[in-house]
Amino acid sequence: MSVVVNGLAQPEAPRPGQCLRGYLREQGHQAVKKGCDAGDCGACSVLLDGRPVHSCLVPAVRAEGREVTTAAGLGTPDDLHPVQRRFAEAAGFQCGFCTAGFVVTAAGIGCGGGGCDRHDLDRRFKGNLCRCTGYRSVRDALTGVANVEQLGGFGRSTPAPAGRRVVTGREPYTLDIDGDVEHPGLPVRHVKLLRSPHAHARIVRVDTTRAEALPGVRLVLTHRDSPDVLYSTARHESRLDDPDDTRLFDDVVRFHGQRVAAVVADDAATAERAVALIEVDYEPLPAVFDPALARLPGAPALHADKDPTASRIADPARNLVAATHGEVGDVAAGLAAAAARVRGTWTTPRITHGALETHGARAWVDADGRLVVRTSTQVPYLVRDELAHLFGLGPGRVRVIAARVGGGFGGKQELLVEDVVALATLRLAEAGEPAAVQLELTREEQFTAVPCRHPMRVAVEVGADADGVLTALHVDVLSDTGAYGNHGPGVMFHGVHESVAVYRCANKRVDAEAVYTNNLPSGAFRGYGLGQVVFAIESALDELARDLGLSAYELRRRNVVVPGDEFVVNGPAGTDLEFGSYGLDQCLDLVERALARDAGDPAPAGWAVGEGMALSMIATIPPRGHHAAASVTLAPDGAVTVRAGTAEFGNGTATVHVQLVAEELGCAPDRVTLLASDTDRSGYDSGAFGSTGSVVAGVAVAAAARAVRERLLELAGGGVPTSDGVRRPDGSLVRFAELLEAPLTADGSHDGRRRSVAFNVHGVRVAVDRGTGEVRVLRSVQAVDAGVVINPEQLRGQVEGGVGQALGSALLEEMLVADGEVLTRGFRGYRMPQLADLPVTEVLFADTVDALGPRGAKSMSEAPFNPVAPAVANAVRDAIGVRPHKLPMTRDRVWRLVHDSGLSPLSPASRLLEDA
């Protein structure tokens, strides 16, 4: 009995021990995604005899004689299933990696007709996780609300170009590869990694004999095979931004979970079995896990073997990766003169990015002998350049391709799998056994072996005079960068930059240090350090406003920077940041009014209610240059092709680029095809980080389109371009074919050197059950200053997604680590928000026009995250009278705040219960 998939009997039978997901993907059914492989996320949902299942949990042999339907079997881009149409029309996805699973589940419970039962969505979809959207648009899709405008141009809610492919499971992600097309003739080999069981140890012996002897094993790589090159997994425009402290495989391991060896085999199962056969003797070394202890004399120095200058480590002897200490004015005098002063220390935990697509890459050597790497990355060009550096190849000898990326959030601004597949591919080619080599991380590896968000301890002391004007601000940050310094300096400097610079204050001091420990490395995470520091500063200011008897909004209004001010942190003001526009005043007003206008859901009887707000500022572009080159080609038949280097990972830049070109050329968006994120097909791009997809790459794309338009109008002798040709002033239409003998191409570029600022203000009203510690968000509002809005629905989605992720960090999420070992190893042990966990957030736009961004727009991808946690903390403080200092504000922590403060009883009987 064979397995029937989408109506076709499969030629091969499943193997014992194989799960249905593994079988289906092996048979080429790429609509079935691997998100967790443990039954928690629902990305692999399929219908089995018409009923939805998580295919990763179903023994594949049980599908024999039964019918499987994937998202691809439900509908096609030209003939969508009703549920698929709803997801497309609602814009119910961003990266789209979870979408096929949502579609299948909804179709399986009969949401195709009148939509799902809106009252039962929370329960029915608790097994489908989405990290991008914050679920509002998913809810819309499930209940049949349409949000896109099919004919929309610039400023309209144009749908994502990939939408119909995403909802039908046909959009190819990183590992959805047709090998016969991409690397014909090459077999695919699979890599599994051996990881360190010690937090700090020297490898004294590795014996790979038994692993190599296992049939099907092609290659085993250890530190003996590592290029003698130090590098960083973090990628920036300048490779000098991050310390060179990492080897591909090292003979010293510095965290539990670090790579020790790799096995390359004919299939992943063989590779995994062989990994268990590698024998390693370790000499354990003293380890340090507390960053405060790590910088004290006598602590084990993790990178004492490195040259501080060559590796760019501030002080290896003290485990110091980076530090800043500086003061402007006189903080002591400012505090002494203050009428009110607040001090406190706030901490934030490790959190995981939670992108549904894990890190993965496949590499091969092409017919020209060049190394090709297809990988899930936000930064294909930076990966290309670093691979070239690492393996001593000219940049022209490496090609990096990113397909649609299944979520990033900063986690894919790193080189975490590409180096391994590249080394393996090159070695196999040298050995005369050319192959394509693939490495796909497991969800457990996403938790335990790749970087998380930097945990920080932030002490703040702030004073103000009786009018609420700040007299002094002192911020002291300790950032745990873990075993390697990737992104450690950048996150630290960025964290204390816009958070401090947004306030005008004559006396400021910032002390910040990023410190090595034997913990899992920390890395880039949405907000890039700002969220952690903003949590502390905005909490302290909230307390200060209380002490002064001022509203939280008023205190901000009296102290925030306004155009004309300098951006000051703890030294001379920076010169590359400017007010290209200013909407912070509007954002403050919008949120204050929105909360006053509508209190949101009613609070349950007996619960304490509170309101809170917080603000944040962010530079629209990372410092020290961000480059993009793009080209636009108009064919004589009117087809437009855009080539841009930046990657689409759910941030929506693909839509924005199409809109910008359609606007310049006066054509319908569906005439525009985008070729992106392939180092062979477009000009250089620093990559999709720092929210640059619109404001840097978008400017380059718009410039290229404008150049095409100008040339076209020159040829036509004036008029306006349309989808079909140029409309002359006299009303006649000249078709493109009459004007162009060959395709017309123009280039555009942008260096991102001038940078503007964007603002976010978040406000919430919460109810707190003092007896249980439960915090319920009754109302959530965020006002954003994103300049001219290119695509309202997409911008709303970016804001909601950032808010949703931030609410997770504020209330639910925390990676637990004991002696360097991560204990939260899967989604079931880690509370990533489900549909049931997130409230709807009202999103409001300030009305500004930016002087630097494309057509007046500003970036708005990571920023919405930053003010959310402090707004919630301030509301909890307002409700219960005790200030939270630690994230996440889980029920047990909030309950303890109430309980320990003696404020818990609501009635005599309950006092008895609590005090007994």
Binding site: G17, V58, A268, R273, T772, R831, R891, P908, E914
Partner: protein, 277 residues
């Protein structure tokens, strides 16, 4: 996920088929077994073909739930069969972190054998005074209360070669008044504290799970005052710690939930609302 060391899958049809060779494991729904790597497991013996009826009415009014009964099948047992326990059956099924898509495959027996503190089928069957029916390797059978069958997080009294066949719920428990309360750190998250109560003329029983490493059964004659129940809860010293809640909070929540369950069983208002208890 793929279980990489597994090379054999056989379908069990008779009791003799359940004798395991080295490396073999019993496969129920598979929803846990396939959710984690299983080093050392080379063969799977599939229980689904034993074709045990999902549930059977027992002489005397009790209910037998097969180890292979899925959570979904349990939810479909007619209300008339479940009696007063119907609400707590559905509440426990909903308390599971898993999706309904997983509940269609996950089995009651698997949940019991996994024996996690948050195992909602342990909450249910211990809470209703259930007994496991275990097939012993000598061809015999033994019975044991669920509350003692589960000995700690992930551990039971199952000896090598033993097979969990079913769990029997007594008629008296099905006929009793029942109440259920749970809490977790996230709204539909993994349970951090669960209290199942049942009461009839003979007495009142509260069963605590999720907050304690193994089920704790508190039995009282008649209807006890809540102070007495609270004293019994407070006397418990072993509270569970994991990422789903701190032990001090779990203790406090269990006290609250116990008071609420007691109040519901006695049809009175819980103490902290200024009510009558």
């Amino acid at each position: 996920m793929d279980l990489v060391e597994v090379t054999d899958h056989r379908w069990a049809r008779t009791r003799a088929d359940l004798r395991l060779a080295p490396g073999e494991r019993l496969l129920g729904g598979g929803t846990w077994l396939f959710s984690e790597p299983q080093p050392g497991t080379t063969g799977l013996v599939d229980l689904t073909t034993m074709e045990w009826p999902a549930w059977e009415a027992l002489p005397g009014g009790g209910l037998r739930i097969a180890a292979t009964c899925t959570i979904e099948e349990l939810q479909a047992v007619p209300g008339a069969v479940l009696g007063g326990a119907a609400r707590v059956v559905h509440a426990c099924a909903d308390a599971l972190l898993m999706s309904f898509k997983v509940a269609a495959w996950a089995t009651v027996g698997g949940n019991l054998c996994l024996a996690l503190p948050a195992a909602a089928m342990v909450s249910l069957t211990a809470g209703l005074g259930g007994e496991v029916v275990v097939w012993t390797p000598d061809g015999g059978e033994r019975r044991e209360p669920v509350a003692s069958f589960v000995t700690g997080p992930g551990s039971t009294t199952l000896a090598p070669g033993e097979v969990l066949r079913a769990v029997d719920l007594p008629a008296a428990a099905l006929a009793a008044r029942t109440a259920f309360r749970r809490t977790s750190l996230a709204r539909l998250g993994r349970s951090a504290a669960v209290v199942v109560g049942r009461a009839n003329a003979a007495g009142t029983t509260l069963t605590l799970t999720a907050a304690t490493p193994r089920p704790v059964v508190l039995a009282f004659p008649g209807t006890p005052p809540w102070v007495e129940v609270d004293e019994a809860v407070r006397a418990i010293t072993d509270w569970y710690a994991d990422p789903h809640g701190a032990p001090d909070w779990r203790r406090a929540m269990t006290r609250r939930l116990a008071a609420e369950v007691l109040a519901e069983l006695g049809d009175v208002t819980p103490p902290w609302t200024g009510g009558t208890a």
